[in-house]
């Protein structure tokens, strides 16, 4: 069988990467990427099984197929060639392949890049923007626990303890509720947990200056940058300094506040 080369977007680094392999494996990955990219969730489970039948490992199918497909749309999103509906469709398609792969991933292979607790702060009922952040983080290999909207500090804290989270991501879409981010960080301090969990702050009215002022470790203006900031915070070389996301203003949640 001939060997072929496929250029993919690496879901972890976001850069382009070439993979090579037998033509049937490359064809299977190409098909899977295309299905995820088009949001064709109905066909993804079968295509995932077919990819495994070619001899690809579950990890290869996950990284070079499902997540690579999501990364294609993530890149388009960054360039304003894809929008929230396209990301949602793609994320659904990617997730449709996970039940096939999960039993085959070893504990090590299945180890996430980090464990994230995401929520919209108390008093705020917005959820679409936060949902997009969660989806993109999952696509990049994070384990995401979404605790929903109107989340009180004590609920954040309980979940962080339960799942042993590395990162808490707080969203606030109202200028009135963004102060709850400060209150939640204070609650983490009071609980003696501030040094054990990294804090990310976001939401339409939240600026980098505000996030740094209230004591967050990182801020991002959009879902893609949130993933990048989370990776920096999880890096072994993170020096504890505030991580400000790039000035890429996409994926701000539809606020419906105005």
């Amino acid at each position: 069988m001939t060997t072929e080369i496929l250029s993919i977007i690496d879901p972890v680094t976001g850069g382009t990467r070439e993979i090579s392999g037998p033509s049937n494996q490359i064809a299977a990955l190409r098909e899977l990427i295309g299905l995820v990219e088009r949001g064709d969730h109905n066909k993804v489970p079968t295509a995932t099984e077919k990819a495994l039948e070619t001899g690809l490992s579950a990890l290869e199918v996950l990284m070079n197929g499902l997540q690579a497909g999501l990364a294609v749309v993530g890149e388009r999103f960054k360039r304003q060639k894809a929008f929230i509906p396209e990301v949602l469709m793609t994320a659904r398609a990617m997730k449709a392949g996970m039940p096939v792969l999960k039993p085959l991933l070893t504990a090590t292979q299945g180890k996430p890049q980090g464990v994230v607790v995401l929520g919209t702060v108390k008093g705020d009922l917005h959820d679409v923007g936060r949902g997009i952040v969660g989806t993109m983080m999952e696509g990049a290999g994070f384990q995401v626990h979404d605790v929903g909207v109107n989340v009180a500090p004590e609920v954040f804290i309980a979940k962080i303890k339960e799942v042993n989270a590395d990162i808490i991501g707080m969203s606030a879409l109202l200028s009135t509720t963004m102060m709850m981010q400060k209150a939640t960080i204070q609650a983490l301090r009071d609980a003696g947990m501030r040094d054990t969990v990294k804090v990310m702050s976001g939401g339409a009215p939240v600026t980098a200056a505000f996030a740094e002022e209230v004591g967050a470790d990182g801020w991002a203006p959009d879902a893609l940058t949130a993933v990048e900031a989370a990776k920096v915070l999880m890096g072994t070389d993170w020096n504890g300094k505030f991580v400000s996301g790039a000035a890429l203003s996409r994926a701000r949640a539809p606020a419906a506040a105005c």
């Binding site: 949001g39 304003q80 894809a82 929008f83 929230i84 509906p85 396209e86 949602l88 469709m89 659904r92 008093g123 705020d124 009922l125 959820d127 679409v128 949902g131 109202l174 200028s175 009135t176 509720t177 009215p205 600026t207 200056a209 505000f210 203003s249 996409r250 994926a251 701000r252 539809p254 606020a255 419906a256 506040a257 105005c258």
Partner: protein
């Protein structure tokens, strides 16, 4: 030649009709700030109509604003259609639970009556009270939800966004129902005394959906609704373009008189679209009005005025609603900067 002393109504209509105003008008989306300034909690606006009206009149008196507003962005049509609206004690109301879970639920949606159903009669009463209080000299601005926004609220944003791919026919059927009801409420607002209808659609901007989806699912229904409200007697339609709308401003200008600008260069906007619409904005609501100093407010307001006012089709405002916790000093700085500019430019 401009008259030396126009009423607020004459001033706002002058810029809408491309005539020379006696000075640059000043309008703020002020429901939350107004309530705080009056010492009231947000929820009281839904309990005491006079308290809300008085909060708006106080703003007019203290800051020389050129319009009063109803309780902006209250999703009363969505609630009357069956969605659950939450009214926090001191925050704006929200749709907490949608009511359309799939195509089978379309049959359950009925034509709502703005004068009888849900919170709509209360809001209409506030508009009537505002009009009675300010008379013909000051325009009353009242908010109506556009069909795409209402469809998102009663179906759920995430679900509707995916429905556009999964079942576009269902989305269009839902939009037809939303259009009928949103238009009926908009017409009732005009009948109750609203002069300007304010619209905002943050779920249909360039940050959220593609231009193709906007053209197919959002714009035609909004345009129709705006046209119907103009036919019903609305003096102007004010479209708040929350977020980014760069690739669709051409369409946004259709059947619209004022664009309440968010993230644009106001000078470039007035140059590009000043022949079609009035630009209103865009001092930053959070970074400047809420978090900035008096000096920052003055600097940014002056920058807006110097770059946009020369066209004569400009209204000074913030780029979104003025946040509740904004200091009165910052709002006063905005008003004072405008007054000084008007004095220098118009002798007014």
């Amino acid at each position: 030649m401009a008259r030396s002393q126009m009423t607020s109504m004459e001033r706002v209509m002058a810029v809408c009709h491309n005539e020379k105003p006696d000075r640059v008008p000043f309008i703020l989306a002020s429901r939350a700030f107004g309530l705080k300034y009056a010492g009231a909690k947000f929820v009281q606006a839904y309990e005491d109509p006079d308290l809300y009206v008085q909060s708006q009149l106080k703003l007019i008196k203290d800051f020389r604003l050129d319009s009063v507003w109803d309780i902006w962005c209250t999703p009363a049509v969505d609630e009357a259609l069956g969605a659950t609206m939450d009214t926090p004690e001191d925050d704006p109301p929200w749709i907490a639970q949608p009511c359309v879970h799939g195509p089978d639920d379309l049959g359950k949606l009925r034509r709502v009556d703005p004068w009888k159903d849900g919170r709509m009669p209360y809001l209409l009463d506030i508009v009537t009270r505002l009009k009675k209080a300010v008379g013909d000299d000051i325009p009353v601005t009242a908010w109506a939800s556009p069909p795409f926004r209402t469809a998102c609220m009663i179906r759920g944003n995430t679900e509707l966004y995916m429905d556009m791919y999964d079942d576009p026919r269902f989305v269009k059927d839902l939009l037809e129902i939303a259009t009928e009801n949103c238009t009926a409420y908009g017409k009732a607002l005009v009948e109750a005394g609203a002069d300007i209808i304010a619209i905002s659609n943050p779920v249909a901007n360039t940050d959220c959906i593609s231009l193709e989806h906007f053209k197919e699912f959002a714009h035609p229904y909004s345009k129709h609704m705006f046209g119907e409200m103009k036919k019903a007697g609305a003096k102007a339609i004010n479209f708040h373009t929350c977020g980014r709308w760069d690739d669709r401003f051409d369409l946004c200008c259709e059947n619209v008189d004022i664009i309440h600008c968010d993230r644009v260069n106001i000078g470039e906007f007035t140059t590009g679209y000043g022949d079609r619409v009035v630009a209103m904005g865009n001092v930053k609501s959070v970074a400047t009005m809420l978090q900035g100093s008096v000096e920052q407010v003055k600097r940014e307001a002056l920058d807006c005025l110097e770059t946009a006012a020369a066209t004569g089709r400009y209204i000074l405002s913030a780029d979104c609603e003025v946040p509740r916790e904004t200091s009165a000093a910052n709002v006063r700085a905005l008003a004072d900067t405008l007054a000084a500019f008007n004095e220098r430019t118009f002798g007014a």
